[in-house]
């Protein structure tokens, strides 16, 4: 049976939210992935009953939580949805034990206390029962918030960027812990994030939110292997996109790059863009090989700038069409090329991703400017 079905719209000033997705399996962790301000948190709040959508339907495990046409709008108290807030929202004046017991399920006081004690032990908070939240570390606070949620027997857990307040090593540690907790939870989970790596590691499926509109849900592997939309390509970390149109069977004319590229991926109706990940090019120094010997999909470029990054070398290269391409490789590989001024970048046909843009060109402009900033700064390398 479907765990969760969401299909809602809500207007907030000039911003409009139009989201629809569903979670099919009770062990599914679904990510809502998108840049900040795209309506991710608002969607969670609508599911939890904190905000009211203008129209639509939310059904959780066969129970209708919200249905605008049937005038159903259950209060948050009756929805049985656990919500992990960005800041954890622990009650600051209560101890760990009081916090967990506040939400604990059970018909008698003893049952609730026992349930709370069990969750506190399961979250390894033993010995901290009488501490206030401010006396806990970031990780302990998050575990306390999870204990409080689990003690309330939710049917679904919502997580709102649970690691945004943390950094570095602690974050990684918590991610491992939280993954285990969510894997052990018998209901579904919706995980809101703008971090694609987190989503790739923790979630099964992903729904990309682009300016308040949701793309179709796909598995995380699909998102990274073959994103269907421009927004999905960008949020999944694709650094190179160009406006494009179909120029023949399997042939895409890339307007911003001034070349036509072959793709071996299925080309859908209404292709507007093409994307190539920065790691997937094969690079050759222009003098080494005759362009003809490389076959198709060779893009002759002028090297604009070479950036020495932590573990890789990033090359910004000017295409015949004028836009910049970003090529990333291991440091050794770039050194072996001999630091050429003219470069041929070859994109194998399976790496040329045809994309559809549902909304405007805003995001495309953003990334073009992004690349322009990195590349345009200096000609003296």
């Amino acid at each position: 049976m479907t765990v969760l079905e969401v299909d809602i719209t809500k207007r907030l000033g000039s911003f409009s939210l139009d989201v629809s997705f569903s979670i099919e399996r009770p062990d599914e962790i679904m990510a809502l992935l998108g840049p900040s301000g795209c309506g991710k948190s608002m969607t969670l709040k609508c599911i939890a009953g904190i905000e009211r959508p203008d129209a639509g339907r939310i059904v959780l495990g066969g129970r209708t939580l919200f249905d605008s046409s049937a005038h159903i709008n259950l209060p948050p108290q009756q929805r049985h949805v656990g919500y992990l807030f960005q800041s954890y929202a622990l009650f600051p004046t209560m101890t760990v034990e009081q916090n967990v017991r506040a939400g604990a399920a059970g018909s008698t006081r003893e049952e609730r206390a026992e349930r709370a004690a069990r969750e506190i032990a399961a979250m390894r908070l033993g010995g901290l029962e009488h501490h206030k939240p401010a006396q806990l570390s970031g990780g302990q606070q998050q575990r306390c918030a999870m204990a409080r949620i689990l003690a309330s027997n939710p049917k679904l857990i919502l997580l709102d960027e649970p690691f945004s307040a943390l950094d570095g090593y602690l974050r990684w540690q918590l991610e491992l812990e939280l993954t285990d907790v969510l894997r052990g939870f018998p209901g579904g989970a919706v995980y809101v994030s703008h971090n694609r790596d987190e989503v790739y590691r923790m979630c099964d499926t992903v729904c990309v939110l682009d300016c308040g509109r949701s793309d179709a849900k796909v598995s995380v592997h699909e998102l990274f292997a073959s994103p269907a939309t421009l927004a999905a390509a960008l949020i999944s970390g694709c650094k190179n996109v160009s406006r494009a149109h179909v120029a023949g069977p399997g042939l895409l004319a890339c307007e911003d790059w001034g070349v036509a590229l072959r793709t071996s991926l299925p080309v859908p109706e209404g292709v507007t863009h093409v994307g190539i990940r920065a790691h997937y090019f094969e690079a050759h120094a222009a003098g080494d090989v005759a362009a003809g010997a490389l076959g198709g999909n060779a893009i002759p470029c002028t090297v604009e700038r070479v950036i020495d990054s932590t573990f890789s070398t990033i090359v910004m290269a000017r295409t015949p069409g004028g836009a910049l391409l970003r090529y990333e490789c291991e440091k050794g590989a770039w050194a072996a090329l001999g630091n050429p001024a003219q470069l041929v970048l070859v994109a194998p046909p399976q790496t040329v991703m045809p994309l559809v843009s549902a909304s405007n060109d805003k995001m495309n402009d953003t990334i073009a400017m992004d690349n322009e900033e990195i590349g345009g700064a200096s000609h003296a390398r």
Binding site: K45, A48, G49, I50, P75, P76, Q77, Q78, R79, H80, V81, G82, Y83, F85, Q86, S87, A89, L90, F91, P92, T93, M94, A102, G103, H131, K132, A134, Q135, L136, R148, I149, S152
Partner: protein
Amino acid sequence: MDWYPLLNSLRIAAISTVVVYLLGIWLADVVARAPRVVKGILDVVLTLPLVLPPTVVGYLLLVLLGPRRPIGAWVMGVFGVRLTMTWCSAIFATVVVSFPLMYRTARGAFESFDQSLADAGRTLGKSNVWVFWRVKMPACRQGIIAGSVLAFARALGEYGATSMVAGYTPGATATISTTVYQLWRTGEDGLAFQWVLVNLAISAVVLLAMNMLEARSRSARVRGSAA
């Protein structure tokens, strides 16, 4: 020395503080969550007594509560109770005058309250009443206490509206502030000075208590965040 004015002042201030506490947090919560236009209007109305001269407040109260005025006459007819010129009458005056102090400090505290705490409580199945008294009020405790202390101090020192609504009858409606005025007016400077000292002592104790409470909650916060 007749200690009646001290007793009377303390009981008026105490009762008025309880009334102002309940009214203040209720209205502060309503206004803090109201839509902008309603908020603006309500806020002006509720803060008005802070800037009005106490004599204007006293006049308005007499217009409403006087024995031949609508509310006063009705209460007189139904309950046979006079609303003006008794010791209780001063409570009307002190409630109106000290209300804005409670209301404004409580509203400030409510507005800086982290709404996600309330949302968390509600998603955990807790009633709105539970969330208000167990989460919101404790989190806003400092502002609420400060407002109550200020309201108590203001009620204790109220003179203008009180003297109009309750008058000055020794042993009946006399408060510290009206007593000081009467004694000075009738040339009993020595006695007046004694009451001035009493008043100074009470005010100092109240302010000291408030500073100690503030210091305590501040150090509690520092301990908490240092851990």
